[in-house]
């Protein structure tokens, strides 16, 4: 699929899965989508390994936009991108946007065939600068 992929990273697997459900229902299946949540040990948190797995799952040559919730999710997502390394890393962007609204808006933009830059810009518009 050539549409930009969307990855949802929350501290809570329930939030991540619920957000992905909303994206699927509101945007459909035209967008590569993956989610992860939880620390991998049954608790709240985020896991670099799980984020790397989600990026693989939602991978698109057009790139991947990651939507995160609280600080640790952002730090861990940036670490995951760095560990994936080039050449893929330059096509992955961690968005500064609210997770639910950002995921739906980014996926909507992606489903229309927008570039990674356009998808990320749409998500960023949701955050006060």
């Amino acid at each position: 699929m050539s549409n930009v992929g969307i990855v949802i990273v929350s501290h809570s697997p329930l939030v991540a899965e619920g957000t992905a459900d909303m994206v699927r229902q509101m945007v459909g299946d035209e967008v590569p989508l993956a989610w992860c949540g939880g620390n991998g040990h049954g608790g709240l948190g985020t896991s670099v390994e799980a984020i790397m797995g989600a990026i693989d799952k939602a991978w698109s040559e057009a790139g991947v936009a990651i939507l995160v919730d609280l600080g640790g999710a952002e730090t861990n997502s940036e670490m995951a991108v760095e560990m994936i390394g080039e050449p893929r890393a330059q096509k992955i962007i961690v968005c500064n946007a609210p997770i639910v609204e950002g995921a739906v808006m980014a996926a909507t933009e992606s489903s229309g065939g927008a570039s990674l830059k356009e998808v990320v810009a749409t998500a960023h518009e949701l955050s006060p600068s």
Binding site: G40, G45, V48
Partner: protein, 200 residues
């Protein structure tokens, strides 16, 4: 500096983190999400489990491998932060470092941690302990002096107001508690220093 006994260093670091896991968790419960001790223990036990593999590598490669292991196993925001510290140290250090190389590499590693956490000194984080340790290294202090410096720096995070991480959500209520990440750094600095000097 004498040839490094990496296996002894790993054992000492993992022992220290395990012995203080509860204390670290208690610190984190006051102003964070209360998992720092458990997370650090999980990470250092994972490093301990691979001691043989790490200790057959050169120092730079071992540090990078330990950093990667910490990233993957510690969890929370501490995983990438402590992992980045070791990863960056491994990238900059030479196979047989002298004090100048160690100091320079440590400085670069602190910059990498600051970039990863989008943080700086004075925000009640591990950087507030790492930075004074770097200065003490540069000034040629002994391992014991550096460890004391690290303890004082961790104590000095108590009156600070947290500006990064979960603790920053508390605003002024973060004042009066020690930063758990800073305490972890101080513990590691002391145990590494003592191990390098062959003390108990």
């Amino acid at each position: 500096m004498a040839a490094l006994d990496l296996a002894r260093l790993i054992t000492a670091a993992a022992d220290t983190i395990a012995a203080h896991a509860e204390e670290l968790t208690t610190l984190d419960q006051a102003i964070g999400d209360g998992d720092h001790g458990l997370n650090m223990k999980r990470g250092f036990e994972a490093v301990r489990a691979d001691t043989v593999a790490f200790s057959t590598k050169s120092l730079p490669e071992a540090l990078k491998a330990i950093g990667t292991k910490l990233v993957m196993t510690v969890g929370g925001a501490s995983g990438p932060l402590f992992g980045t510290l070791f990863l960056a140290l491994g990238k900059e250090i030479s196979a047989e470092p002298d004090r100048a190389n160690l100091t320079a590499a440590f400085g670069k590693a602190i910059e990498a941690v600051a970039a990863r956490g989008k943080s700086q000194v004075g925000q009640k984080t591990m950087l507030d302990v790492l930075q004074p340790v770097h200065e003490a290294l540069a000034e040629g202090k002994t391992a014991a002096e550096i460890a004391d410096m690290a303890d004082r720096a961790a104590d000095a995070t108590v009156p600070m107001k947290a500006l990064r991480g979960r603790a920053s959500f508390l605003g002024d209520r973060s004042i009066g508690h020690m930063d758990a990440g800073g305490r972890s750094v101080a513990l590691l600095v002391r145990t590494i220093g003592e191990t390098l000097e062959g003390q108990p």
